[in-house]
């Protein structure tokens, strides 16, 4: 009898460790661990006001991009074009910034939306898996980006560089998060996106216009990357061929660190975006303060990423990413 009780407790513990509740708080635990570890290893240097300000300055445009990708990944799809989209949109914004700032912003957003539309069109109309489509378009637009920046970097106007102020970037980021949270939580849009991620066929038979939902999600995510490009341009001032390089991996890692299941669907939480981008930023700046080579930094990030995916993935819902 005693033995039975013991094995019962063990199985309860195991049920808890593999259960949804634990998985839901795991990102927060990870966040705390990463902060504590970085705090100790850097002798508290990471939590100085100066470093924190630097840390936050790194997360504005990734947060905006991650918000769009969050919706795509909720669909159960994936997008590898963020970096190249950001690059192309940044070029458009820089060129237009000599004419008019509002025009530059609109141009950037439209460029992003157009690339998103292209991704969505091939993904939905030709029923290609999104990771195939977006890997192809990533190459395409990296090429476009390189073409315009080989001779020399594309400069932006002084007027747009003058906008590099924290309050503006914070306002834009918070506005994007607020609107996205509202749409996700309180409108049909959020419900439809989640339904497609949890079970596309059943969602279609429940009246969700699945093709339209998927297409529009890609368009909106592209547009958000275009907006993020504006925040990027005011910060960096001139666009080189490496603009947005590896942004897609950064966003993917951030969201997964934040606890977003890569299968999408019902178990995604909006907080995944915020926790994830913060965690990535802390990890990133911690590793820089510690003086690791960029190559070693990349290696460490890869290991942390693998561990997190292994711990958080929902194996029941596991299938090929759409």
């Amino acid at each position: 009898m005693e033995k039975k009780n013991k094995s019962n407790e063990q199985s309860k513990l195991r049920a808890f460790l593999t259960g949804d509740k634990f998985k839901a708080v795991l990102p927060l635990i990870g966040f705390v661990i990463i902060i504590v570890v970085m705090h100790i290893m850097t002798n508290g240097k990471i939590l100085t006001p100066k470093k924190l300000r630097l840390l936050f300055s790194q997360i504005y445009y990734p947060t905006i991009v991650a918000t769009g990708v969050f919706f795509i990944m909720t669909l159960g799809s994936i997008d590898f074009t963020e970096g190249s989209t950001l690059g192309v949109a940044s070029i458009v914004i820089s060129v237009l910034s000599f004419h008019s700032i509002p025009l530059a912003i609109i141009g950037g957003i439209l460029t992003g939306a157009a690339i998103g539309a292209l991704n969505g069109f091939f993904h939905v109309k030709f029923r290609l898996p999104s990771f195939i489509v977006t890997i192809c378009t990533m190459y395409l637009f990296r090429g476009v980006c390189a073409y315009f920046t080989t001779e020399s970097a594309v400069p932006a106007s002084n007027a747009i560089k003058a906008l590099d102020q924290d309050w503006l970037k914070i306002t834009i980021t918070l506005a994007v998060l607020t609107v996205a949270f509202f749409l996700f939580k309180f409108t049909r849009i959020g419900n439809d996106v989640k339904a497609v991620g949890s079970g596309e066929t059943a969602a279609r038979f429940s009246g969700v216009r699945t093709a339209r939902v998927k297409f529009l999600t890609f368009v909106c995510a592209g547009a958000l990357t275009g907006l993020a490009a504006f925040v990027n341009v005011i910060k960096v001032g001139s666009i080189t061929s490496t603009a947005g390089n590896q942004l897609e991996t950064q966003i993917l890692i951030s969201l997964v660190l934040g606890g977003l299941p890569i299968t999408g669907g019902a178990k995604v939480r909006f907080t995944n975006i915020i926790v994830g981008t913060l965690m990535y930023a802390v990890l990133n700046s911690g590793l820089s303060i510690l003086g690791y080579e960029p190559q070693v930094q990349q290696l460490i990030k890869g290991v942390v990423f693998l561990i997190f995916v292994a711990l958080t993935i929902d194996r029941k819902a596991l299938k090929v990413i759409k």
């Binding site: 199985s11 049920a15 309180f186 049909r188 339904a195 079970g199 066929t201 059943a202 009246g207 669907g265």
Partner: protein
Amino acid sequence: MDKKTLLVAEHIDKRFGITHAVNDVSLTIAAGEIRGLIGENGSGKSTFCQMLCGIYTIGGGTFTLDGKQLHIRNQVEANNEGISIIVQEMGTLSGLTVAENIYLGHEEPFMRMGVKDTRAMNREAQKLLDSYGFGQIKAGAMIDQYNFEDRKLVEIVKATYMKPKILVIDETTTALSQNGRLELYKIMDAVREDGRSVIFISHDLSEVLAHTDTVSVLRDGEYIDTIESPQVTEDDLKRLMVGREIGSAYYRTDYDDPVTGDTVLSVQSVTVPGELDNISFDLHKGEILGFGGLSESGMHEIGKAIFGASWDREGTVVLADGTKINDIPTAISHSIAYTSKNRDNESIILNESIRNNIVLPSLEDLANHGLLNGRKLTSFADEQAKNMQTKMQNVHQFVSDLSGGNKQKVVLARWLGKGSDILVLDSPTRGIDVKVKQAIYALMADLRKQGKAIIMISEEIQELLGMADRILIMKDGKVNGEFLRNPDLSEEDLIAKMV
């Protein structure tokens, strides 16, 4: 009993999280016995057998086969001990040939210095298939070329050719036509003749009584009783399964209540290539219109065609007010509901909560200026789920945790919540136990009285005879016969039009 004992199960136990799926079940099976195993959905019969066959790990207790205690870790080990299973779902692997499927995990006899001798394997497999009388299936062909039923036949060969001591048949007959069933019964008899044993799981109680020696009943994971099949009736079994008296009113009993309502929906010259060929009919207010036929007759496509879900449809589906139905959102907003035969894939989102499944088609009605209120959604879903007496912890539970019957209740709850007037129900009681079946029949009779129109597509002839006001029998994509409700109508009348 003077027969030799073959299998002894002692204190078998299994938990899935908080669910106690199998609770201390002990039973013995004699050599040369066909043992029926029955119980409602979620009674633990499949779980019990899957532990025996190495699909699930044993939670507690022991199995002893032929005096030897079993320590099975996977299905191949179970096969080697002389236990094999034919499962309810698709059990063959796509992308392999028929022969490769049959010998999966047992390829050693065909290995020549580490290289597979495909020709020898195909030759042996074809001999096996021929000896079973399944010569129409070619051993060297890819399994994907064959339909669901032929693939089931391949599974039967796979599970029985090595002459297992215990053959477990888990609700296989639902996938088989009359012919396939007869083949399976023959094989079961042959196993018994040979002094080996069969565990036969089925929801079809008349089939269980006709083809087993003894029947064991499980209820809520617990062992209830084992009885000699010839000494009991279906009603006895139902009582044991449910634990109380099932009322006599199972199907509708009225035969003098003709349909007089107006036409609510017209299907005009609908063709879906490869499925439906120029189908036309009308559906009336207060009518239950039954569709019957063989599985491949195209009848399942009718539901999809009406719901606007067919990929490639010609012809018109039009409502009384002239609205044409060409896509699913239009169908839903014009009060048409559809429940699919393929429940887990098309009717519900498994990896979602009960709440979100129920509210999904009704979001537009529940929104206030486009805004959704979580509390309102929860109370709406809660009310609908409770109306259907869904067994659940709360509406936030995931649908994947529910039994087949409860999943179907969630599906019906969402459409009743939507208030749909035209219900297209494809195989509404497929894989569902008696208690829930009874509830669904009662619900259908009730909806009919309220003046709703129901299309019931069913592979169960008794269900069509018992519930429908009018029955259309399909064959090769065409309507091949029409019958009005009549107590004298027999199964044979309908079957004659199906084949």
